[in-house]
């Protein structure tokens, strides 16, 4: 397993290098540059020229790339063109917020969806199954931003139960921090629940049809034991794959949720940086997302082995 892990980590290096090249180039293909955006129509062409020079934008792109890469290896990701904040600091601060919301949302989603999917499969074609599937489909048809806005209006404006603006970290003030997290976590969680329920139900239905499950029932094992010990592990694999991809995607920034609830997360940072052509921040963020995906995929692959010994042996 260690050899496998090391091999996967080494394979990540060329992947990340390729990501760096693509990200660096693609960003610069977008019309407009940071100097133009920042100075807008109140400008002095000499000032724009000087700013481009200060930002190193007057150099050839390969030179810019080489300099940036060299600094990355020294741990220097540069500073934000927009806010002059060190990039690593900006990313870390925002990532912490996103990770808090996403991990909590996914945790609740898993806690709800795995049992719900299992039960729906177990009670296939009964009112319970129909209800669970109907709720999942209903939620899937509602855009996340709409759900978020409705929650904001209901709980924030009409009922005035929860705050509508701002963010307080739980480490600063636990109670207030939780209050600020309830709506975004719930909004995000509902979307993930709907997807995971469908995946889990589908996987469980396939496994429930297999002979060894019939055999287990014939042996007289209780249904709960069959579901938890025999069905869950085998049915979980596809759900795990989706979970890994979902987590990677969300950790890259749930920008819609962050925008609706004004969370200072990484998604919002990326969107703002694109509009402002904040190259250092964008490059840093996208590299981070690539790392997250590589890491999460590795974890998922290792978990497969844990769940299914045949995978481990092969």
């Amino acid at each position: 397993m260690w050899a496998y892990t090391l091999k996967r980590l080494l394979m990540a290096i060329p992947t990340l290098f390729l990501v760096a090249v693509i990200v660096f180039t693609l960003i610069r293909l977008i019309p407009g540059d940071p100097a133009t955006i920042m100075l807008s129509d109140l400008d002095d062409p000499l000032v724009i020229e000087q700013m481009r020079k200060d930002l190193g934008l007057d150099r050839p792109i390969p030179v810019q790339f080489g300099l940036w890469l060299g600094r990355i290896f020294q741990g220097d990701f540069g500073v934000s063109i927009r806010t002059s904040e060190p990039v690593l600091e900006a990313i870390f601060d925002r990532f912490t917020v996103t990770a808090t919301v996403v991990l909590l949302a996914v945790l609740f989603a898993v806690i709800i969806s795995i049992p719900a999917g299992l039960i729906a499969a177990w009670k296939q074609n009964t009112p319970i199954d129909v209800t669970i599937v109907l709720l999942a489909v209903l939620k899937l048809s509602m855009p996340t931003f709409w759900v978020g806005l409705m929650m904001l209006i209901l709980f924030g404006v009409i009922l005035n139960w929860l705050p509508t603006v701002g963010f307080v970290a739980m480490t600063e003030d636990f109670g207030r921090g939780v209050a600020y997290l309830i709506m975004p976590v719930a909004s995000l969680s509902l979307t993930e629940v709907a997807i995971l329920i469908r995946m889990m139900r589908s996987g469980a239905l396939e496994v429930l049809r297999l002979e060894y499950v019939t055999n287990a029932r014939a042996k007289g094992l209780p249904e709960t034991k069959i579901l938890l010990r025999h069905v869950l592990k085998n049915a979980a694999a596809p759900t795990l794959t989706v979970l890994g991809l979902m987590l990677g995607s969300l950790l890259g920034g749930a920008s819609v949720t962050e925008t609706v609830f004004s969370l200072p997360g990484i998604g919002k940072l990326i969107v703002d940086s694109i509009y402002a052509r904040d190259y250092p921040v964008l490059q840093g963020c996208l590299l981070l997302i690539a790392c997250v995906y590589v890491f999460l995929n590795l974890i998922v692959d290792l978990l497969y082995g844990f769940l299914d010994p045949r995978v481990r042996l092969s």
């Binding site: 977008i30 019309p31 407009g32 540059d33 133009t36 955006i37 920042m38 100075l39 807008s40 129509d41 109140l42 400008d43 002095d44 062409p45 000499l46 000032v47 724009i48 000087q50 700013m51 200060d54 927009r82 806010t83 002059s84 904040e85 900006a90 601060d93 925002r94 806005l149 904001l152 209006i153 924030g156 404006v157 005035n160 705050p163 509508t164 603006v165 701002g166 963010f167 925008t259 609706v260 609830f261 004004s262 200072p264 919002k268 940072l269 703002d272 509009y275 402002a276 052509r277």
Partner: protein, 518 residues
Amino acid sequence: MGHIKLLASAAMSILLLIGSVSFFPAAAETVLNVATTADMRGTNPGVDRDGTTDTIHMHVVEGLVAYASDFSVRPMLAESIDLSKDGLTYTFKLRKGVKFHNGEEMKGAHVKWSWDRFMKPETKWRCRNNFNGKRGVAVTKFEIVDDYTVKMHLSEPSAVFLASLARFDCGSTAVLHPDSVDSDGKWLKPIGTGPFVFGEIKPGRYTELIRFKDYSARSEPRNGYVGKKEVLVDRVKINVLPEATVQKSAFMAGDLDIISVQPSDVAEVEKHPGCTINSSETAVWDTLLINSRDSLLSDKRIRQSIAHAINREQVIAVISEGRARANPSPVPPLSSYFSNSLKAQLPYDVNKAKALLEEAGYKGEPLKILTTRRSGAYYERALVIQSMLEAAGMKVDMQVLEWGAMLDAYKKGQGYQMMSFTYSARLDPALSFDMFTGPEKRKAWKDSEAIKLVEEAHAVSDPTKRQKLIDELHSRFIDQVPAVGLGHRQRFLAVRKGITGFKAWGAGKARYWGVSVK
């Protein structure tokens, strides 16, 4: 005796305990919660800047002069300003007893230090070229006459010198204390003379302004960025909320006290109990730029046809829901230079538009309007104009770009035939024309006579002579149609019940002094 001593000690202890606990709870801190759509760029005025950042900086720093509500330039840190007969020397008498945020009194040496710092290339002051001869006048010498008198000597007379000093995108040429930088000259934070100091700054979340208790206020009533700046709250919390919908929800929930409102939301927000709408026409100019270097649009008849085909009043009525007025001139109506002559325009006349097209030999070649979905009704204006031009017989397409891409086309002066554009506020009439007149690539009006008139308007200080120049510029503008002026942006701000004293003004910049929270 022992009992008495014991009782006395107990009584003393009780009294001390009572004394340490106030029966009158400490007054709660008053916080004004407002919103902005973008993060502040930094704390260095005139260096780290954009529109949002300028608004915040103007609460912390002040310059020798500033803009009043009628866009005239008045003394702020200066007590008085004298101009020599040859127009080359400005003498500023400074106000006495003005305190910096570190408690020191402002004196001539501080003003010179600030100026010298701004003029150093390494400071990267955005407006340096406006004062070193590269873009007009040069300040040849800055003289300290005494602790409360300084002189600035110019290379040539300039009617826009004071206006340039007052510009908020220049940080109002803030007077700062040397403690604003460290021993190596590296920027720390602004030690200015403004009514607020910076509190907590959390990028992506909020910026706080805290009342400066020893602020030295002027005595005249509040007037634009001059006059009395009385701070009636302890803190202002400027929350970063890019989405208008989110701001509106937060306002309705009572989490925000003042927000900017789109015209389409005014009716809804007005119904909110206790809410008032503060409205002000600004100097932000909405226009349709016309690229006269285009082969088709180089013909003046086609440009005039475009002007005749556009019903300005209708365009403005649509985008403002009937809450703003049209204006054909780049000079804002709030300006003291907005004379009756500036109301002249090529009237809305579809038949005349068609006749001009025929005369010019227009054969239905497609025309394109470049626009963006950015907030500010760029897209909506373009849409309405497209239908008006088509009604006059023109074939018009729209191309929607992301803001940065459209700005790139604007800067290069190419890649577009017409552009739905907006210029930030210019408070001096010469600057109102200067923003789109000149040989530079980005400028739409390259007429040599117009350029000459703009240069003259920069140099001439006499109001009567200036007015004549501005009137003449406007007359040429509506004849040559390098752009079709639509109007100056109406700004709407919703103010929650319990907030008093807030007033919008023509520069479109919020002011949080004179505002109290109940």
